[in-house]
């Protein structure tokens, strides 16, 4: 049923409606959201670890990491707080290249990403490989700012952006789908913006 007096005159014109997921609005800003203060991680202290369960299997220092093949992608991103931003440009190391450098195939069906501030989020491993995700270190041609997750964040643009864990420090491969920070607090386990999977029961 229509809302009295609402015509949607303010909607962004010229936008391909199929590109904007349900309930989203287009922004040209890049809003910052987080559960707590911005951590500041110096590159000399930075480390990224792959774990299988509790067992670390490979780590990279910043110096090691930036020598890996770098991929550039341009993608639309969608935040669960309703804003979407089109054609965002990122650079980083694809999860495929990360696994290749570690000399392994994806060890299990699920991944739990961990961040330096204690944040975590879960993603099916299939959603990270085949070019679908990367560890991003640059946005819009510049090193990723701390507020947006720098030095490095996970980037999984086909899911709501809370899955693109800022300040990522580890990818832990798990046997079961283990709920991360927001998933334990009422948000959807998978988070497909085109199915509007925002909250747990959606």
């Amino acid at each position: 049923m229509a809302t009295r007096g609402f015509s949607g005159r303010g909607r962004a014109s010229g936008t391909d409606p199929a590109r904007l997921p349900p309930g989203q609005y287009l922004t040209s800003d890049f809003p910052v959201l987080s559960a707590g203060p911005t951590p500041h991680v110096a590159r000399e202290d930075w480390k990224l670890t792959l774990q299988v369960g509790p067992r670390p299997i490979k780590s990279w220092t910043w110096g090691d990491f930036v020598r890996l093949p770098i991929t550039q992608v341009t993608r639309d991103i969608h935040c669960v707080t309703k804003w979407s931003k089109f054609d965002t440009a990122w650079e980083g190391v694809s999860i495929d290249n990360l696994l290749a450098d570690a000399g392994i195939e994806a060890p299990s069906g699920f991944t739990l990403a961990h961040s330096f501030d204690g944040y975590s989020t879960n993603v099916p491993t299939e959603d990270l490989i085949g070019g679908r995700a990367m560890i991003a270190i640059a946005y819009d041609g510049k090193p990723l700012e701390a507020e947006h997750g720098g030095p490095a964040r996970l980037l999984v643009p086909h899911l709501y952006f809370w899955k693109s864990a800022k300040w990522v420090k580890a990818l832990q491969f798990t046997e079961r789908d283990e709920a991360g920070f927001w998933e334990l607090r009422g948000y959807h386990m998978y988070g497909d913006p085109f199915k509007e999977q925002r909250y747990s029961g959606d």
Binding site: M1, A2, T3, R4, G5, F6, S7, G8, G10, R11, P22, G23, Q24, Y25, T27, D29, F30, P31, V32, L33, S34, A35, G36, P37, T38, P39, T81, K82, D117, G118, E147, R176, D177, E178, A179, F181, W182, E183, L184, R185, G186, Y187, M189, Y199, S200, G201, D202
Partner: protein, 250 residues
């Protein structure tokens, strides 16, 4: 903590009727909604609202709940008008008593406080970021709770302080709640109100009245405000894990 959440019920869209509209400040209006059933929620949570145009186009936004869970039959959302907004100007210019609006919620699992969580609590709000914090204060008052709580609230001018009379009255109860307003664009001077942005000195004074380190700190407002506030608190020795942030806008 369990590794998997229990199966959750879908939050459905409900139609709510606007029963009152109140102008709070030159840019903020409160909208009071009646739902078919009373909705339980925790202070700090928000509602999603959805507007539908005749051609089926829909717009959704989130607004923090201002009313306390205990005292109100009606849900209050205090909405600030954004000049370049799509939804807030519609609320300010068109929505009237009797209108029906779709709401979904309550939503939020981290930026929450109820009296069972205890204190001391430091609240730091900028502009309309004060809304979820006022919900926490109203809840505390409704329950007759005396957990030490301090609110540092930054607005542009005296006219922009939302709920100013109510906040002053709550602080005059002397029940453990202290109010620290500060104005950033008021020419001033004004009695009982500081001028200038929230700074180290003001946060230090607020922490001092709490007498022990806060159990939790809530910082809410525009991103730049939250970023500065959170960093200043870290500089003052507050542990990062005790700071919860909610960032409005860009």
């Amino acid at each position: 903590m369990t590794s998997k959440p229990s199966s959750a019920v879908k939050l459905t869209w409900r139609t709510a009727t606007v029963v009152a509209v109140e102008t709070r400040t030159p840019t903020v209006k409160s909208f009071f909604f009646q739902l078919a059933e009373r909705l339980p929620f925790i202070p700090g949570q928000h509602m999603d609202v959805r507007l539908t145009a005749p051609d089926g186009y829909q717009a959704q936004r989130s607004y923090s709940i201002a009313s306390a869970p205990e005292t109100s039959e009606h849900l209050e959302l205090a909405i600030e008008q954004l000049d370049d907004g799509e939804v807030s100007p519609f609320f300010h210019e068109t929505v009237a008593v009797g209108d029906e609006i779709d709401l979904r919620g309550p939503i939020g699992g981290h930026f929450l406080w109820s009296v069972e969580d205890g204190g001391p609590v430091l609240l730091v709000g900028g502009g309309s970021g004060v809304v979820p914090l006022v919900c926490m204060l109203r809840h505390r008052a409704a329950r007759g709770n005396r957990a030490p709580m301090a609110l540092v609230y930054s607005a542009r001018t005296a006219a922009d302080l939302i709920f100013a009379t109510e906040l002053r009255a709550l602080s005059e109860r002397k029940d453990g709640f202290d109010f620290f307003p500060t104005l950033t664009r008021e020419p001033g001077p004004l009695p009982g109100v500081r001028l200038g942005r929230i700074d180290r000195a003001l946060l230090r004074d607020a922490l001092a009245v709490l007498s022990t380190l806060p159990k939790v700190v809530f910082v809410c407002g525009a991103n730049a405000f939250v970023e500065t506030g959170a960093q200043t608190l870290l500089d003052l020795g507050i542990a990062p894990a005790t700071i919860r942030t909610e960032r409005y806008g860009g």
